[in-house]
Symmetry: C5
Subunit: 358 residues, 5 copies
Amino acid sequence: MRSTWIKRSHEKRGKPPGTVIHVGEVHVLKPQVTCFVYSPEELRQTQLEENLEPFLSDHVRDDNRNTWLNIEGVNDVNIVKQVGAIFGIDSLTLEDIGDTGNRPKIVEFSNYVFIVIRSLSIDGVTGRLDPEQISLILGSNFLLTFCERQSPLFDPVIQRLRLSNGRIRNSGLDYLAYSLIDVVVDNYFAVIEKAADKIEAIEQVVTQGPSRSTLESIYRLKKDLLFLRKSVWPLREIGSRMINGDIAFINEKTKPYLRDVLDHSIHAIDTIETCRDIVTGLMDLYLTAISAKMNQVMKLLTIIGTIFMPLSFLAGWYGMNFKYMPELEWKYGYPAVMLVAFVTIISMLIVFKRRKWM
Amino acid sequence: MRSTWIKRSHEKRGKPPGTVIHVGEVHVLKPQVTCFVYSPEELRQTQLEENLEPFLSDHVRDDNRNTWLNIEGVNDVNIVKQVGAIFGIDSLTLEDIGDTGNRPKIVEFSNYVFIVIRSLSIDGVTGRLDPEQISLILGSNFLLTFCERQSPLFDPVIQRLRLSNGRIRNSGLDYLAYSLIDVVVDNYFAVIEKAADKIEAIEQVVTQGPSRSTLESIYRLKKDLLFLRKSVWPLREIGSRMINGDIAFINEKTKPYLRDVLDHSIHAIDTIETCRDIVTGLMDLYLTAISAKMNQVMKLLTIIGTIFMPLSFLAGWYGMNFKYMPELEWKYGYPAVMLVAFVTIISMLIVFKRRKWM
Amino acid sequence: MRSTWIKRSHEKRGKPPGTVIHVGEVHVLKPQVTCFVYSPEELRQTQLEENLEPFLSDHVRDDNRNTWLNIEGVNDVNIVKQVGAIFGIDSLTLEDIGDTGNRPKIVEFSNYVFIVIRSLSIDGVTGRLDPEQISLILGSNFLLTFCERQSPLFDPVIQRLRLSNGRIRNSGLDYLAYSLIDVVVDNYFAVIEKAADKIEAIEQVVTQGPSRSTLESIYRLKKDLLFLRKSVWPLREIGSRMINGDIAFINEKTKPYLRDVLDHSIHAIDTIETCRDIVTGLMDLYLTAISAKMNQVMKLLTIIGTIFMPLSFLAGWYGMNFKYMPELEWKYGYPAVMLVAFVTIISMLIVFKRRKWM
Amino acid sequence: MRSTWIKRSHEKRGKPPGTVIHVGEVHVLKPQVTCFVYSPEELRQTQLEENLEPFLSDHVRDDNRNTWLNIEGVNDVNIVKQVGAIFGIDSLTLEDIGDTGNRPKIVEFSNYVFIVIRSLSIDGVTGRLDPEQISLILGSNFLLTFCERQSPLFDPVIQRLRLSNGRIRNSGLDYLAYSLIDVVVDNYFAVIEKAADKIEAIEQVVTQGPSRSTLESIYRLKKDLLFLRKSVWPLREIGSRMINGDIAFINEKTKPYLRDVLDHSIHAIDTIETCRDIVTGLMDLYLTAISAKMNQVMKLLTIIGTIFMPLSFLAGWYGMNFKYMPELEWKYGYPAVMLVAFVTIISMLIVFKRRKWM
Amino acid sequence: MRSTWIKRSHEKRGKPPGTVIHVGEVHVLKPQVTCFVYSPEELRQTQLEENLEPFLSDHVRDDNRNTWLNIEGVNDVNIVKQVGAIFGIDSLTLEDIGDTGNRPKIVEFSNYVFIVIRSLSIDGVTGRLDPEQISLILGSNFLLTFCERQSPLFDPVIQRLRLSNGRIRNSGLDYLAYSLIDVVVDNYFAVIEKAADKIEAIEQVVTQGPSRSTLESIYRLKKDLLFLRKSVWPLREIGSRMINGDIAFINEKTKPYLRDVLDHSIHAIDTIETCRDIVTGLMDLYLTAISAKMNQVMKLLTIIGTIFMPLSFLAGWYGMNFKYMPELEWKYGYPAVMLVAFVTIISMLIVFKRRKWM
């Protein structure tokens, strides 16, 4: 399977900047465009068809109502371009929306602020990390969000939006943007918890008796944590830029919430680093378990060899066919050899017991 | 057992911000609420019942007396909400109080400053780290503290509070808050000392002869130190923000004390890092001890094999049944073979002595 | 083969600063000098002969048209010196152009800004990294670029330059410089993707059964990533200096594009670091695979030895030639020994099965 | 023995801040208090008895003469408290003086600056690091120094102080403080040199043939270097705060000297880091020497096994007692087997020679 | 041999600051003092005798001519002191000149700036690093340089100084100082190239078949790189202080050259770090090569043991002397055993082939 940490962008190379091309896997057949127009008094939700202009053009200029356009699926670049044309989005921004392998970042423009974050979820079937790029464009009276697929990620926010007395309905679009980012950051903790569960499962296996597949689990876990870190780390900068960056579209009242989401990001990063350190320790534990096993194997061979090699020699000795071997003629030769063999075995066993090899 | 370094927060996901939910283990059946109202002249300690409002409402507005409300147990979110309503605490703060898996932090609000720290103690029975989140809310005339359990942690401070001529009674609530934080930081050193004791115990075991459980001890120690670091590290920032952050509720006179507690935190971090480095060294020591043991086992096998394989061959040789084997007929054949065997053994032993294998 | 990460500079030592000497491999027989003179209305492309002055001298002073001089091949220092004389380039700059082992950097002069970057491509035949130093000199009405070899690297930019309505033609030389740097940065991703492919190939090999050449692949990959990092890392500083450095020759309008290229550089660095961490994990995986193989070998030897050493002893025992060995005379002696041997084998096999060695 | 890197502080926990308690080992029976009063013209040295006040009280207010009070031994907290009362020292400072497990630091107060440093020496008998906390309190006309034991550490400074034309006598107390710190920093180099000597000794042992005690030496060296670093590192901050911190008690003229001592500290840190890196390399060298030894052991066993196992089989084969074994009856059977055995041995030896095993 | 990374300074301890003592190896019998007095028009080079004052005293005050005094050999502290007295050099500076174990640094004084750098060369005979401390004192009309030995290091600069139309003659002493530093920095690259050569030589050896001396080479290389880094790293700070530090003796025109030398230093540091990372990779390669060799040895033993132990048992079995062993009497007993032995060998070989052990 294509690894999650790098995206192909063959087609893009050599193109002029601002060329909107979809880079990444295709998750939806046809992008879904949902428009939410709301004021504290009312909320209208509309599913838009392919031609967006007629519906949207008159909302763009309406400063009394908030317009949230949620586009699920960015593989149809036409929709991206249409939306860009209607809302006056820079072509560099549109290019970044189409290229789903971006690093999380925040870019300020004169008429909007552009935020790229990475949502992570765990695929229920394969258990692998499922990254999704979420692009947010926050303007004075519009919020555009672009997801890679149709997912229930934003559902809790939409439900809260429907409550006419909820804070979201009564706050600006910056608060809505915050709510969406908060949902994504909350999701990181679900992923981290899964990683923590895996760590504990592996701990148990390693303590009881590791197999070779254990190592591969550790290795895959390590890679997942690397990817997690890579996704969460830039949020630190995004968060502090949103709080301290003096961005026109972000209200002073929303900042405590943004500070809260920043705190959560830092907490997530901290926990990821701790996980990584623990996994490193696990690796050592595993390696030592392996080498302890080897030690045991060697000990057994040594015990067997040390007991039977001298005895075999003894038996071989009296199997020699010399004509003149007086011992062979003795009456008590055989019992004497038996005694010697017996004493050898016993003394060896005592030595091994003392060295605690048995 | 559930590890100490991550807390579940399933129920919280998707909820609006400021939803107060208890996340973490339940340590007390019924939270205890103790109110201390004091001025330099008098101190009144009251155990509050479930309905807090009647008692508290008239204290809130009294600027002449200091009110310290200590809530032990945060699993009953109703109490948290009640207190929040009475003292005008932001819902984001209340949410953080209920979620006991927070990263230590400091957040300033217009009417109070909110501090989260993590107290650590060692469980007397299991020997494991017992973390507890302590939330402090410092306002102009009130100090609220939320602990996860009933513990004697704050007892020394309470006793000092009872002395009418003590500094605590005669200073503001910021000094009381400092005293509580100081007690928590002092406790870190107890935990670090336990870790240092364990390091020395493991050192001895490794030097004398490690078993496999040694490695697990090292691994667990490493994890504990990781968790310790994660808990203490943010105090650096909290401390410097309290000192340099120009917070209205912190008196200039209290700052030398805060600087002292910051120094202790940095000292703790330093010592934890040193411990971690030493534990890494211990790991190497352990691994080499294991491999030295292996070496010894292999040497024994080699010595035995090197002596008895040639001898067995010799004995086997004269055990052959060829009709025409002149040596077998010789009168001194057997003594000659005995001599050869003897010389072989002796020369081998000399070689091993020289190579210092024996 | 000469490694890619260090260049010889014997001849340069002891020379006064500003001595222009070519250091590095010679990639072209005769440097190609192409001159593009363009304004929004027209574009003229001229291939220049050895004597550059007559043609260039009158362009230098023409502020209405943009002059881009692209020199492919820097081994002929005469051309470098000529160009330097015509455009008034400092001798230190010329020295750096000739020495192709420079670290990427940006240096500002009063009449131009000098940028050194390193383009990377993968040699189609050997699969090795092929570094090339690209020097850009951006003045008010001229852009000079020096490459080490003739390559199609800049072709897409030249094609876009030919479009009379393209952004390049209608923007200043700073935008052209940006476009060239962008092409180089885009190329890094091609190299990173190749590295990612190799990582996955090695992952598969290691999981299935590594050979010794695997390790060398890992080692070579590690070196390539080191070199990549060394080449990309300085772009961080170059980018931010171009954006924030208040350089006269860079237009405010070009800065969003430069910010974009800076973002890409940071993304590249991030991905390289992730690759490096994964490769380190791969190394551990490889080493454990090796040691697991060893373990298996030892187990087999131990199983064989543990079964046959006692049996051989048994057989040897009854091969002794004592005159008085009652067992040898017994009628059922031989079947009894057969039974003993059989029981020994069976019980050993059971033990090994239980220990999961077979 | 109690390790050097952590000090017990059981009694201190729960006490109010500013409680002066001695923490650490007791090095002297009775603290020695020596008072030096000097001006460029004269120097008076007085050994003080238990009751310090009568003597000191009139010196405190004399701004024309410099008073240096050197207290050797801090286990008698009464003396510490007395001195504190006379010179107006904050209780937090007194607490830090008594607790000898402090991290080196600098704290400024309105009437003095408080500096804690750690002197290191090597115990002549055990060869272990002997840390000692040195506390300096520098006021406008007094300098207080608190050592843990009676040592000749400050003797060279005292001798220089006796020279009426020396710089110390003619400079302020800040220069005296500098001289004392300088002596401590100079001592670090003696310790570092000892560590370097040990490194070289271990290098020799490892190269010639390491024993298991070698590893413990490396481990102990590592711990010493860790402790060294922990002691020296904070001097960086102390030094730059003394130079740039605008402290009233430090004369501009003394600053070049402080810069010199800061340079020495940085040099010491640098060298310690280098030592640590070298010790890490030593560890690898050691581990490989061990594994090379193992390799040799295994090779010998393999050579012996590979030669004698086939030969033993051969001998065993013709030791079989079949009635119809034609070879046994042949006249040249025995010489033929001898030839086979001889050829086997020779060819094996050739193989081993080729593989460079012998 | 005394290692290069630490110098003894026994005699210095306890001495007052500013005591000039020579610390380090003695490289010259009698220091050579050469004086260059130059203006754009003329250059006079004079070899000075022991008593420097008569000659120098009248140059000190001549602001029209530049005086460069180059002292080769600092073991005769009298000369250092004389020069110090003539040019008004601080005793702390003189102390640093005599102590050749200094860390590279820059210190500003009112009448001069003092720079310590470390020149590195490779001893032609032993191949070891040969460090040399170079001290530069740059005043308004004089430049003093102190080297540890007589070396051709500065020869190219002296030759350029002789050219009346060269830049050095026509620029100030700051440019001369830059030229000398530049020569030293250029030399680092020679040392780095030697290290790169060694890396490649070791790479080849490791790939083909490492011996134990290989490890020692790696270890020594690592130590050399550590020392290199320690020497070059401080140049970063020295360079930026010279450029940005607003030093009176450094002309604005010289700064581009200093920036160039700073760039080279950063490049050197970068390359050293890359070398260090590669050497770490080499170590892993080496260790795996060793363990692969071990694996091969073990495999051979296992193959031999696995084939011959069962066969030996078989032979031994029919060597038993039981009276009633029917097989022995059978006519085809012997051929049957031969068949069994043959089948055993063949099937074993097939197994080994399949497991790719042969």
